[in-house]
Symmetry: C2
Subunit: 251 residues, 2 copies
């Protein structure tokens, strides 16, 4: 069996490496990328055509904003019967795009979101969540995928793409927004840092360690992100109003 990651950016490299580490010798791991990146150890770099010819399982690890164009372009190469998944941080649009562009290829389609990356998985995968959304796939494949991820120690959550996006906007989405905003403020480390502030700085560092494109894409392609940002702005206003009221009470 051959498993491949399409894309070797920050996440793609990590994902190829993770598959390699977690799989037995009966699994070949290969990767391709438009830019010639060095793949992780044990992962063979191949060209695009070779990649689709060999892969039984394909994970797309490209920026959300690039996915649709990539799918359109590679659709003719996707092998019938192969299992194709994306790994994007939003799920509704990618699921739609895969359905639209790959349905005629005769492949099986699952939308996935491993809710972690090279930073948050530094200490291992145990208990980390992965969301899987069936798009065009049989039950048996879903069960097999679920048990592979479970055997890696992951917490597998099956849900619809829209359910994922709603929950993610108000968790991962708000975290990235806060991280980018605090970085914008130019906050720095200080000797008098409280525990809470140190934890906040860790969040800022981790969110800003991801490519800025991920941040834009998370906010742009999640149908609930706009509502989340409005709700955050309203909460800032409410908090400022409460402060004003309490100051008036003090006078």
């Amino acid at each position: 069996m051959t498993v491949g990651t399409y894309g070797l950016g920050r996440f793609g490299w990590f994902w190829a490496d993770t598959i390699r580490r977690m799989s037995g010798d009966d699994v070949d791991v290969i990767a391709t990328s438009r830019h010639r990146h060095e793949p992780p150890q044990g992962v063979a770099f191949v060209d695009e055509e070779d990649f689709f010819a060999r892969c039984d399982v394909v994970f797309f690890c490209v920026a959300i904003s690039s996915l649709e164009a990539v799918l359109e372009r590679v659709a003719p190469m996707v092998r019938p019967g192969s299992l194709v998944m994306d790994t994007c941080s939003v799920k509704a649009y990618p699921a739609q795009w895969m359905e639209r562009h790959l349905s005629s290829s005769g492949c099986r389609i699952v939308a996935t979101h491993p809710m972690f990356g090279p930073d948050s998985a530094r200490d291992g995968l145990a208990g980390l969540p992965v969301v899987i959304c069936p798009v065009k796939v049989d039950d048996e494949t879903m069960s097999r995928l679920e048990s592979v991820f479970t055997s890696w120690g992951l917490k597998v959550l099956r849900m619809t793409p829209l359910m994922h996006d709603k929950e993610a906007a108000y968790s991962q989405g708000v975290t990235h927004f806060v991280g980018r905003t605090l970085r914008e403020m130019g906050l720095h480390d200080t000797d008098i840092a409280t525990r809470g502030y140190k934890a906040l700085m860790t969040i800022v560092d981790q969110t800003c360690n991801d490519p800025v494109q991920l941040f834009y894409d998370l906010q742009h392609y999640n149908p609930y992100a706009r509502e989340m940002r409005l709700s955050l702005q309203v909460a800032v206003e409410k908090t400022l109003n409460r402060l004003r009221e309490s100051e008036e009470g003090m006078r």
Copy 2:
């Protein structure tokens, strides 16, 4: 030697308990409070007059917004030669108030800020910061205070009240503002929580566990807090603008 905490609210109780645990049998720990609270084990509850008559060292553990009125009222009871300290989360105003109202009492005055509380010190004091600002005090007393706190495992930082307030506005102050704002949004736990989101929720819980008066006082009595809040609002706007620009770029 008798050490006392004036006030047995959330922090005062914790501080009396900490002094009791960290000190030897040669130290008596006493406490007083306008509301009759149960003191920690090993700490004697006494009335106000008794409290000032017996204390060699006094820690005021009252809300920032109550401190000045308390100082005015108790000034005649403060013993000459005793060492008087506040523990407020801002330092410029309390230092000024202590100087104004206690100078004629002939006591020594130090402004302090233990930058932790019952939540953040749950696993011990090691490495936690405490700020001390000399107000009206001899070098020897400062050195002795420093070595006592150091012997407790604390990281002692000597600075001016304004230096403290500036650093604190952009660390503790911003953390509490973010915590209160996110609580206002009604965020909740989710199965698909990333590590970053979980860390953010811990910050929300910890900051909102403190009395809301602490939040108002931190923002109202820190001379740099208004500037910090403006800077946060500007950062939110900038982040939203960047998103808008990136969306225009995508079209």
